[in-house]
Symmetry: C2
Subunit: 375 residues, 2 copies
């Protein structure tokens, strides 16, 4: 019997079968044809794509060809500010930054404090908005300039978004959003309306530039339902369809398919201190054998190992990652040593990140779209 799993924008449960999920959503696997197109225009392919972490798409080929014709496009992704950012959240943003740099693109980054407030009965709106500002620091810390990065904190930057969201909302019925998002009779009307806002950002660059400006949306696969709807209604609204590039989920340190906010040990947060990072890495679930002896004899299984997963995500050097994989499988590399290597990489990443993050403090408003538009 097949293992069951559930993936919605608000929940990932069970061990995810990514191919099955793709089929269910109706998105396409990213093939060597699309990757070749990317390489043609970018000159190289980012490791997160090369290594299959970003593995699916809608119309990625379309937007590459659009770029090839010299036409304008933009990037769009977002963050639900339910709490602190963990390094898993940052992985798609790293790719976002890469695209922005390689193609000289503006980035529309939505921070959905309204949605997180709607979704969590215990959350106060002020809390969600505070998290939005805190999380924005992590985005800015990736090195974006205020010219390139446009932050949209929903409750603060609603003005340019709302008229587009209104047009979107008229196209979506209760029936449609109920079926798409699994809403129930007791879903609040904020969450019911919210898809209009997430979809609206996909059309915002076209509205602001007053010419067709499709977006590429790099995000996790669970966001596909929003953008499938966006693509369904784009034509009728006179906007170009958004293209998407979907990642798998970041494996939890505990070995589950996705990190969970309810278990802080399942993820490494950008503000975890060194001691905490070390503890979390050293306590992580692995694909290793119960004893060092067995590990040396039979080797480990990097495919189910979150420690290897993180090496894959954070080590830009293909040879280094491949060596870890082989040494794990051969039994030459034991889990303790492998964890220490990872700890070193993450500590280095976080140290630099936190310095840049603190430099961004107090500057969030310079990046906010509506602040810029009102000038």
């Amino acid at each position: 019997m097949e293992e069951e799993f559930v993936v919605t924008p608000w929940e990932v449960r069970g061990r995810v079968d990514y191919e099955k999920l793709l089929k269910h959503f109706g998105a396409k696997p990213l093939t060597k044809d699309e990757v070749a197109l990317l390489e043609k225009y970018a000159g190289e392919v980012h490791p997160l794509i090369r290594r299959g972490f970003f593995y699916a798409h809608r119309d990625f080929d379309f937007i590459m060809k659009w770029h090839g014709e010299g036409r304008p496009w933009a990037l769009y992704t977002g963050r639900g500010p339910s709490g602190p950012v963990h390094i898993g959240h940052m992985v798609p943003w790293i790719l976002l930054k890469w695209f922005s740099d390689k193609f000289g693109l503006e980035v529309y980054f939505q921070i959905t404090d309204d949605e997180k407030f709607y979704d969590d009965p215990e959350m106060k709106l002020e809390e969600a908005t505070n998290w939005a500002y805190e999380n924005a620091l992590d985005v800015i810390a990736l090195g974006f300039s205020p010219e390139r990065l446009h932050l949209i904190i929903d409750t603060k930057d609603i003005k340019p978004l709302y008229p587009i969201a209104v047009r979107v909302a008229k196209k979506l019925t209760w029936n449609t959003v109920k079926a798409t998002f699994g809403f129930t009779d007791s879903t609040n009307i904020g969450l019911i309306f919210y898809p209009s806002l997430q979809i609206a950002v996909a059309f915002l660059p076209t509205e602001l530039r007053r010419e067709a400006t499709p977006v590429l949306i790099p995000c996790a696969i669970d966001q596909d339902p929003y953008f499938r709807l966006a693509r369904d209604i784009a034509d009728a609204l006179g906007y170009p369809k958004p293209s998407t590039l979907y990642s798998k989920f970041i494996m939890a340190l505990t070995g589950e398919s996705k990190m969970s906010a309810s278990n802080p040990d399942s993820a490494i947060y950008t503000l975890d201190d060194e001691k905490t990072v070390r503890r979390k890495v050293m306590n992580a679930f692995t694909g290793g054998r119960p004893t060092a002896e067995e590990q040396r004899k039979y080797g480990g299984n990097p495919e189910v190992c979150p420690v290897f997963h993180y090496h894959m995500l954070f080590d830009p050097d293909d040879a280094s990652v491949e060596k870890i994989r082989q040494d794990c499988k051969s039994g030459a590399l034991l889990c303790g040593e492998c964890k220490l290597k990872l700890h070193e990489k993450i500590t280095k990443f976080l140290k630099e990140h936190r310095e840049r993050r603190e430099k961004a403090r107090g500057k969030v408003d310079e990046y906010r779209l509506s602040v810029k538009l009102s000038k």
Copy 2:
């Protein structure tokens, strides 16, 4: 068998039984006790209340006593900009202006271009927003200063409203709005969210002044479902409950319970030219007899007569209105003459109104709340 009727914020059908409607909604009839309270603080009672056109309320006594304690309050009403304003629309606004003058109150006036766009499959958003600006001229023409009147055109002034609407939306489920407004599976998610915005304005003065500032909402009885919900959730959100004052509908010139946008002859629009006004008044349905002879013999019925209804609404002189009523009933006044009297009153009202309306052109933004807040 009783005659059936339907009243929702989007539809009035059949001959309305106002007492039954009140009972159905659960609002209270306006009694001499409340009117006496009003007279105590205002020094007089406006004819529209004295003559029973405003006939019901929720907590009108509460807000009078609140005023008696010297505490701050404000006025709130609105307009759905689906087309041009007719003089029926203006009747509650006339009372609004009276309250504002008598009590020195600020007025929050919401113009719901989003709602009208959602509700009409044929309407474009630009059209609804254009109507919002056009209709705003009719409101300003009543003589409001920009200090007293705060216009909120939803798609333009969403910024101060949205964070409140978000808190409201979290408190309202699909179940609740479905039952309250009769939404169906094919209702669009814009209309589903919209009640949050109409309710949010009731809490806006408290938010802006940072102290409990309840509102009095003079409006037609069909708006009660919104404000019943507003009152249900006010406590939980830490806002004072809004008070309401409900009018009956303006009788159509054709004799139905409410004017209808689909039949332009049922209403007199503020921009109708003199010839059109004359034609509409002279062609109006009346409570008179088929022949002048019968009218002289048996008298007419002013209670079912839209012509008398308009005398009642637009003639401030009680004695004059009473004379028309008696002369109609006695048969001394024939319909033709009565219509000419009405035509004279309306023509005078419209002439002055249109002059003030044109003076307001180009000044709408001075009245818009978010424009004022951004200064």
